[in-house]
Symmetry: C2
Subunit: 325 residues, 2 copies
């Protein structure tokens, strides 16, 4: 990471510490501050600032919407954890575990509104465009989460449906974060759209990489338990592809495992991973990630600024693609 990007990260970290600071009642805002304090990559606000920088403007002008995006992202994690009944987030208890379900619901609601409070600080001349991008993106994320939940009840999710779901649930916020930066930097609409598409492709690759690391990550560096998605019967790219490519025997065995109520976790992970191996899914998945990665670089190439200015984004994409956690 260049020292410039490190400075952006530092600025975001400092500004996030101020969010909802001292707001009352604490019963409403402590859970919000808690989830915001758990860290994470801060990837989305960083991309907003990097987008402004890409077009040669001062990143600070986009700090408020960058914070809005990070607050909204954490709201979606908070409510998703509750809906998914996840106990842990980044090595800490989730909000509904540390407090209760009602706290998680209402604090999450307050975070959505707080995110709009930061959007409302955008200069008037850019407000309509930024509000439109933010709201469209926010609604798409809700749709993505709904599809994700709907897919839990289905064994016939197609690859196209899965890719559309992760586009909505993950990729559009990465695209939106970049596009809001572009708008504030007065980029041409063509460049702003190209940067959005860059984000969509990076986002798709990012989520596919997440799915892959859950099974093939190195337990020493991954940070989470390997095989968590398999144990939770999550409809990941690997599982959907396996259900499609499996022969009749393999398919029947996977379906039995998915519906089994009692099983040995390690055995289940080992069995499913063996099927993935037999079907060559690691390579198939890596090829798709590479495809999206290359497509993202094409989008970036088309943007009308010097290659020099694009270096930070290229480096960040590379890090996301070749990360081990």
């Amino acid at each position: 990471m260049t020292s410039k990007v490190a400075l952006f990260e530092k600025r975001i970290g400092e500004a996030l510490e101020e969010v909802l600071n001292g707001e009352q009642p604490r019963t409403l805002f402590d859970p919000a501050r808690y989830i915001l304090s758990l860290g994470g990559k801060r990837l989305r606000p960083l991309l907003t600032l990097m987008a402004v920088d890409l077009f040669g403007e001062e990143p600070e002008i986009a700090l408020n919407p960058a914070l809005a995006i990070e607050i909204f992202h954490n709201f979606s994690l908070l409510h998703d954890d509750l809906m998914d009944k996840s106990d842990m987030r980044r090595g800490n208890p989730t909000v509904h575990k540390k407090w209760n379900a009602n706290s998680a619901i209402l604090s999450g609601d307050a975070m959505v509104i707080e995110s709009y409070r930061y959007i409302a600080k955008v200069p008037a001349e850019h407000l309509p465009a930024v509000l439109h991008i933010f709201t469209t993106t926010a609604m798409e994320i809700c749709k993505g989460q709904q599809y994700d939940m709907d897919f839990e009840q289905r064994l016939d999710v197609s690859e196209a449906e899965y890719l559309e779901m992760i586009r909505l649930k993950t990729a559009v916020l990465i695209g939106g974060a970049l596009k809001i930066g572009a708008v504030l930097a007065n980029a041409s609409s063509q460049d702003a759209d190209a940067l959005y598409q860059y984000g969509i492709h990076i986002g798709l690759a990012f989520q596919l990489k997440d799915d892959l690391l859950d099974v093939y990550g190195d337990p020493k560096t991954f940070g989470k338990k390997i095989g968590g998605d398999i144990l939770a019967n999550k409809k990941t790219y690997l599982l959907i592809k396996a259900l499609k490519n499996a022969n009749a025997t393999q398919r029947k065995e996977i379906e039995q495992l998915l519906s089994a109520t009692s099983f040995d976790p390690e055995t289940k992970i080992k069995f499913v991973k063996n099927v993935y191996d037999d079907l060559n899914l690691k390579t198939i998945s890596e090829n798709l990630i590479e495809k999206y990665y290359l497509a993202s670089l094409d989008c970036l190439s088309s943007i009308n600024v010097s290659d020099d200015r694009k270096r930070d984004l290229v480096e960040l994409s590379e890090n996301l693609m070749y990360r081990e956690k």
Copy 2:
């Protein structure tokens, strides 16, 4: 009601039927359309249109933010019903009963975002002001709901704390609905603020009247079961005032009833109502309602338009004050 106000109501009803129409996935949007279809007074969007009309402008210019306010109001009912574990809303099963808790959470989230999508349609010159009022109001409503939940755990809620809670939970959205109309009609900031204060006072009176009707309403016209708040141990104005004004014996008996896990519902209602009667709380409450009602008329008087234009709002306030349901 004048034929003009009836026309506003009709327009709101028609426009609400279009909200989220045909949006996919249905698992996300059916619950939202369901709660929007349950009716209710449509008081808040009506006030927005009436505010525009008060200043002699065309109410249609405020239709989008009026819808935003009604969508947000219904979102708050949806999530509140889930948090309060209420099974029924306007004679129909609540969303989390008809679907499930996750549907209620995510559909509610989508409704917040949809409300902002309607706010985003406000003409650019008014967008910053309207977005600010809407977001401030939305956050205050969250705070009000949090205080309401926090008060459930307390027996020492003061009258001032209670009035602040209902100001946040109920009155500010009535004030905000009016103020947004005033802003869109290019009212002076002085008039817009006076109309907001009119709404705050009407809102306080409205909620106190709700509390009163729950105990003293006519079972034939009230529509809900009399004594519901008493059975739910709700910290209403009456209960808070009773806990404060009761003598030691009465107070001890109320506290015993509040903590009792098994009791005959009718006996509990009858007992609590007797204490209210002994303490003259019906009159005390009616006097406070009258105080806020008169204060609201003072605010309305100060607004710089002819009395003729104010007639519809005065009539509406009267109807709210002297309603029996």
